[in-house]
């Protein structure tokens, strides 16, 4: 019988292994399951990256203020109230009494100040460290040129936080609502260092606290009993499902595994719209987003130096056709760079719309531009895009459109990293790009194409444009005048600029009818504390 011993041991091992694996398949469902997006890059607010990351963070943390999706102006969160000095250079926040971390420890103002300084330090490697540049000493600190003690963020007592700005900022409050500025628990950070984000150490101050995070599967959060409003919180737990593919989100939603799907594949939209009366078609919620899909043109490339050529390439593209026929997901044709629904300070900002060119006009513009450069035809160029299916389809569609203008372009699919590298190196002629608003202000958009901006990457430098933006900044507080300047700058950008805005994104989500408190909004912001289930 001993010939059987080895196989038996092997069999037993395999069985044990299988049991262990199976034990991982069944997890009790949370009160609400939200199909989100890919895994967050990090739960450290300074490291998080995407809108999807921000949603998860919003359930775990809260800032001094939180964005109110409906009004567009931030609402009180950790801060009970705040005052702005007459000249707009000194902001003083008073914290709510009795704020606590999720481990029960009290939060005081020095904690928050420390957290802001940590965010600024180069060693943290915060992606959006320039958010606080308006604060005195912040830029020097994040560039490693000045000490953290020189940054003008002060906590004179346990419940007061004071920011002093070097210049007036048009939307400082909106900045403070950004997720990278969520407070980080100093006591945990100092104990565990970079490992503070692991599930067993994780401490936060938001409505929910982290239970576990299984990569590529889910992040489970449950009600934080120490949160200021914990008693009023309708949900006991939320599962953030980490799923990259919108098609999978839809399939899971249809199968009833998700209560909210935060994205819907474009290809399914027509089918969903075709059945508006019944699920899942009736669950589709669409809302314009503050995000623009556009093409960058490299002005250093042969033929692209003259604005007439760029104008022709931009304004001949029929965005209406693109949106109505190719995308069909509710995207809005982009005749301006800033999306509609944008604000300028507290005022709504309505961008100037460029007017499309007819084919003949476009040909004429092209000819003028080329003649000015001593060329007869535009050399064939490459249109770089990512391997994302939507990107590829848009690129293929554009390639087809440009042949009508007599321009040859070759589409080249690259992975996102390569595309970024080539754009950063200026090694491209035309490339797909997108910009998502960090906060709801037109300046957040238009400042991308200032000569000095790192987001420019087109080689386009236009003194009048820079001047207009500078003037707009100096007008902080006077929203109407500022909006006028911004509108003028935008008109310049559309006429001279190196971009082809194609469409403004649209958020698409599927929400089960029994889910309440889901308010579609331009920032794709989700207030987890407001969500509830009413069956």
């Amino acid at each position: 019988m001993h010939s059987l011993r080895l196989p038996l041991i092997a069999l037993a091992t395999v069985l044990a292994l299988l049991l262990w694996c199976f034990s991982l398949t069944g997890t009790a469902p949370a009160d609400l399951v939200i199909g989100n997006g890919p895994d967050p890059r990090s739960l450290d607010p300074a490291q998080a990256q995407s809108v999807a990351d921000a949603r998860v963070l919003a359930s775990l943390f809260e800032g001094l203020v939180i964005p109110d999706p409906l009004s567009g102006t931030p609402a009180a969160a950790m801060a009970q109230h705040w005052t702005e000095s007459q000249d707009g250079l000194r902001w003083s926040f008073t914290l709510r009494p009795g704020l606590k971390w999720s481990d029960g420890r009290a939060i005081d103002a020095p904690d928050i100040a420390w957290s802001m300084l940590r965010f600024l330090k180069p060693a943290t490697g915060a992606r959006m460290a320039d958010l606080l540049d308006a604060v005195i000493g912040a830029e020097d600190c994040r560039r490693g040129r000045g000490p953290a003690s020189a940054v003008a963020i002060e906590a004179p007592d346990a419940s007061t936080l004071i920011f002093r700005l070097r210049e007036r900022h048009p939307c400082f409050l909106k900045l403070l609502a950004q997720f990278p500025l969520y407070p980080v628990p100093r006591h945990v950070y100092e104990k565990h260092g970079a490992a503070w984000t692991s599930a067993q150490h994780f401490v936060s101050n938001g409505p929910f606290r982290l239970v576990h995070w299984r990569l590529r599967d889910r992040i489970r959060v449950e009600r934080n009993p120490h949160w200021r409003d914990a008693a009023q919180l309708p949900l006991g737990s939320i599962d953030w499902r980490c799923i990259d593919s919108p098609a999978t989100l839809l399939n899971l939603y249809v199968a009833g595994a998700l209560d909210i799907a935060m994205d819907v594949p474009l290809s399914a939209i027509p089918a969903l719209l075709a059945s508006p009366g019944s699920a899942p078609g009736s669950d589709l919620r669409r809302h314009p987003r503050l995000g623009t899909f556009f093409l960058r043109m490299n002005v250093a490339q042969p033929g692209f130096a003259h604005s007439a050529v760029r104008r022709a390439l931009s304004l001949v593209v029929d965005r209406d056709l693109l949106c109505s026929q190719l995308l069909r997901g509710g995207e809005e044709p982009a005749w301006s760079f800033t999306p509609t629904g944008m604000h300028c300070g507290a005022l709504p900002y309505s961008a100037l719309r460029a007017s499309p060119l007819s084919l003949d006009e476009a040909r004429a513009e092209l000819r003028i531009g080329l003649q000015a450069q001593g060329m007869s035809t535009l050399p064939a160029f490459e249109l770089l895009h990512t391997t994302d299916p939507l990107d590829s389809s848009v690129a293929e569609w554009l390639q087809h459109r440009y042949t009508i203008l007599g321009v040859t372009c070759k589409t080249v699919a690259l992975d996102a990293q390569s595309l970024r590298t080539r754009m950063a190196d200026g090694d491209y002629a035309m490339a797909r790009s997108s910009w998502m608003a960090d906060y709801d202000d037109a300046s957040n958009y238009l400042e991308c194409f200032e000569s000095s901006s790192g987001a420019n990457r087109t080689g386009w430098s236009h003194a009048p444009y820079d001047a207009l933006l500078r003037e707009a900044r100096s007008l902080a507080g006077a929203d109407a005048e500022r909006a006028a300047k911004l509108r003028a700058a935008e008109a310049l950008l559309l006429h001279e600029g190196p971009i082809v805005p194609l469409f403004h994104y649209c958020s698409r989500s599927l929400v089960q009818p029994y889910v309440r408190g889901f308010e579609p909004n331009p920032l794709e912001w989700l207030n987890p504390a407001a969500l509830r289930v009413q069956r």
Partner: protein, 314 residues
């Protein structure tokens, strides 16, 4: 066997003569009819854009097509994809890419493998040890992962250097050829070794033939069947590798079309609310049919060319 050869030849002819067929333009985006289900209603359509063909063979054929069919063309019999492009036309165009790539890459891998194996087998001794140990090490690597890295690397490199000869086809070709020559090398080496020690080679050597003439007169003709048999096996393998890479988004890239790309796009379009089964079924059928035929052909050839081996190995 005869049936198999006929069918493969038929496929090849069909693929070669694609420009002659009244197919729709495989790149023509026609959004209003996106994701149209397969139809049997209309066979001929007029007034659609016609595909453009370039190249020494394709262009005259396309002209001939103009003369034969004018602007008549097949309706999207197999349905359309998410951009309203005719799947039938795309399968044909994809076949050209997939099959050509598999063919060229397999010839390349055959030459590498045959050379490697022949040198190892002829020289014997330390050279043989070195070469075959090298092949073993390469064979021990998790090749598919190396391939993924290499493709990402080469693509990034290509991304960084605009004007190079290294287009996506060349990248795929190099990679697939580079990872698929090892079995060929092993088979050729074994054959050459057994031949080298065969009596008739000894006889030739005693008769005073030079090494070169032995190689030319005796070894090559006798090793050729082995090489040919291994080649027929490597074609479908490379075809699968190509479609696998394209499927992962690492092979042929849109707007390029290969069967792997078509399948990838099929999966991308497939959702619970709109089950576009044809986008997966038809490319899959095409791929499976060709693989089946090539597999059967390979098996037949192996039995014919290497009767002594055919029984032993499964």
């Amino acid at each position: 066997m005869k049936l198999c050869v006929t069918l493969i030849a038929g496929c090849a002819v069909l693929v070669l003569l694609t420009p002659l067929l009244p197919l729709a333009d495989s790149t023509a985006v026609h959004l209003p009819r996106a994701l149209q289900t397969p139809t049997l209603d209309i066979f001929i359509e007029h007034g659609e854009p016609r595909p453009t063909w370039s190249g020494p063979v394709a262009a005259p054929l396309a002209t001939l097509r103009e003369a034969l069919f004018g602007d008549a063309q097949f309706a999207p019999l197999l349905g359309t994809d998410a951009l309203g492009r005719c799947l039938l036309a795309r399968i044909f165009v994809g076949a050209r890419v997939s099959l050509l790539l598999a063919l060229v890459a397999s010839v390349a891998s055959l030459s590498i493998g045959a050379l490697w194996g022949a040198v190892a087998g002829m020289r014997g001794g330390r050279t043989d040890q070195l070469l075959m140990r090298g092949a073993d090490v390469i064979g021990a690597l998790p090749l598919i992962f190396m391939v993924i890295f290499a493709v990402a690397l080469l693509r990034a490199w290509r991304g960084a250097h605009t004007e190079t000869w290294l287009d996506q086809g060349a990248v795929l070709l190099c990679i697939t050829a580079a990872v698929s020559w090892i079995p060929t090398a092993r088979m050729v080496r074994a054959e050459v070794m057994s031949l080298r020690n065969a009596t008739f080679v000894d006889a030739a050597r005693i008769a005073g033939c030079s090494n070169a003439s032995i190689l030319r007169r005796h070894l090559l003709p006798n090793a050729a069947p082995v090489a040919l048999a291994s080649w027929t096996i490597s074609v479908p393998r490379i075809l699968v590798l190509e479609s696998f890479l394209s499927f992962l988004g690492l092979g042929v890239e849109a707007p390029g079309v290969s069967w792997g790309v078509l399948l990838r796009q099929g999966y991308d379009a497939l959702t619970a609310v709109h089950v576009s089964w044809w986008l997966i079924l038809f490319p899959a059928t095409a791929l499976a049919a060709v693989l089946l035929l090539l597999g059967a052909l390979g098996e037949n050839l192996r039995i014919r060319l290497l009767p002594q081996q055919a029984r032993g190995t499964p």
